[in-house]
Amino acid sequence: MSRSITTLSQKAVSVDIKQLCKRFGSYDVLHDVSFSIQPGEIFVIMGPSGAGKSVLLRCMIGLEKPTSGKILIEGLDASEQSTHQKLITSMVFQSGALFNSLTVFENLAFYPREHGAYHNKNELTEKVFYTLKILSLEKAAHKYPSELSGGMKKRVAIARALIMEPQLLLYDEPTSELDPTSSANISELIGTLKEEFGVTSVVVSHDRDLSLSIANRIALIIEGKVRILATPKEVRESQDPVVQDFLNPKIDIHNPRFRKTKENL
């Protein structure tokens, strides 16, 4: 790749999560979650469905306000909209959240246009096609999201996030609903982007292969609490039965999990 999308003035950012609690009604989704993410790191948040991973991500991007505790991005409060104006943060949604009324090209051009980033039309077109080329999406430029496959939608969503030149890039289940090859493709893409652009990446996933292969560190969240925070190697070698059960669940149709009591799990 001959040139980077990110500009030299922007650098990857750190994230500090301090005693974060999030409650919806009487239900505690996140309880006393604390950890730090280093600049330029690929940090994977794993956990079973409903563990609070996506809520944590939404708190980081400012879409949800914590009930208590704080998330600081480069020392700035993530729940304040001004933080996301000073620092460029971007999110790849689980559904892609592409604008269905716009083509792929227009989806990518949307952010630069809205922020008046390019006054020259040709420059913007060049930038969009350059970003599409990185993700091998040039041929899809004039298609609408409804005409794309699941894997392509995810890549377009990543391209749209990437064109913002983010300092912090959040991925919500980037490989969900994808076949194994497309999942591997997206995992490689996330790992490559970190090497190419040095952006801090936070990936929420329950994809074991993705997490163990591309993460610098992994946090496993079970029932709203951090169960383990370690490198992929340490997580793999953990003796904690809950961690092992999450990573290597054994399928036993004679004694299924849904018939076990909570104590026996």
Binding site: I61, G62, L63, S90, S95, A97, L98, F110, E114, M164
Partner: protein
Amino acid sequence: MSFIANILEEIGSCIILFLRSLQYLPTLFRQKMRLIDYACNIGYATFPIVAILSFFIGAVLALQAGYSLSKWEGAKQYLGSIVGLSMCRELGPVMTAFLLAGRVGSAITAELASMTVYSEVDALITMNVPPPRILVMPRLVAAALMMPLLTISSIVIGWFGGMVASKYVTFIGLNPAIYWDSLKNLVDAKSVSDGLIKAEIFGLVVALVCCNTGLRTKGGPREIGTSVTHGVVFSMILILLLDYFVTKILM
């Protein structure tokens, strides 16, 4: 009690959305293409149905009034005044607003509700693009620009419909010159301007309520349908309520 609280809460959120949208008015020039698109949808695309409805309302009004007035000698000459005043003071603005709610308001709510449910609005927020700036403000301006034009068209076409009915229906058989003279005698500039003031208020209310309902949608596809019904019904109720109070104020 919670029903009233919900209504008050919804009216409050509409007012907040309106004020938040107003602060983005300076960005209107940059969004001129979006404004033109919305204005075409609200004005040009709604015009045919407004024209058809207004013609027949005017015609039926003349028919009904003509039938009653034909029982009294000489009373038919006031038919133009009756149709003229009814169309410009009441029927033109209210029926156009109802059509706007049904045709444009439902589409606005459906579009914004599906954008909300499928995280497109969240995506806008993460891109530092406030939803009121691009989704609400241009629609409010488009409604404010198009509603008076639609209403004046509705009024004129309604008058014309009344004239056609009063000329060609045999038991009325009124000379068009008498119809127009009678209309001009009673319909003054204030009658028309009062109608247009009402129309402007109704247009803004429809656009605002439908945008607000769409952006407040939570859930899935079923809730999108529920929101569309709610947005249209709520804006129609507000039109009727405001019609009474605005008429009282303008008297």
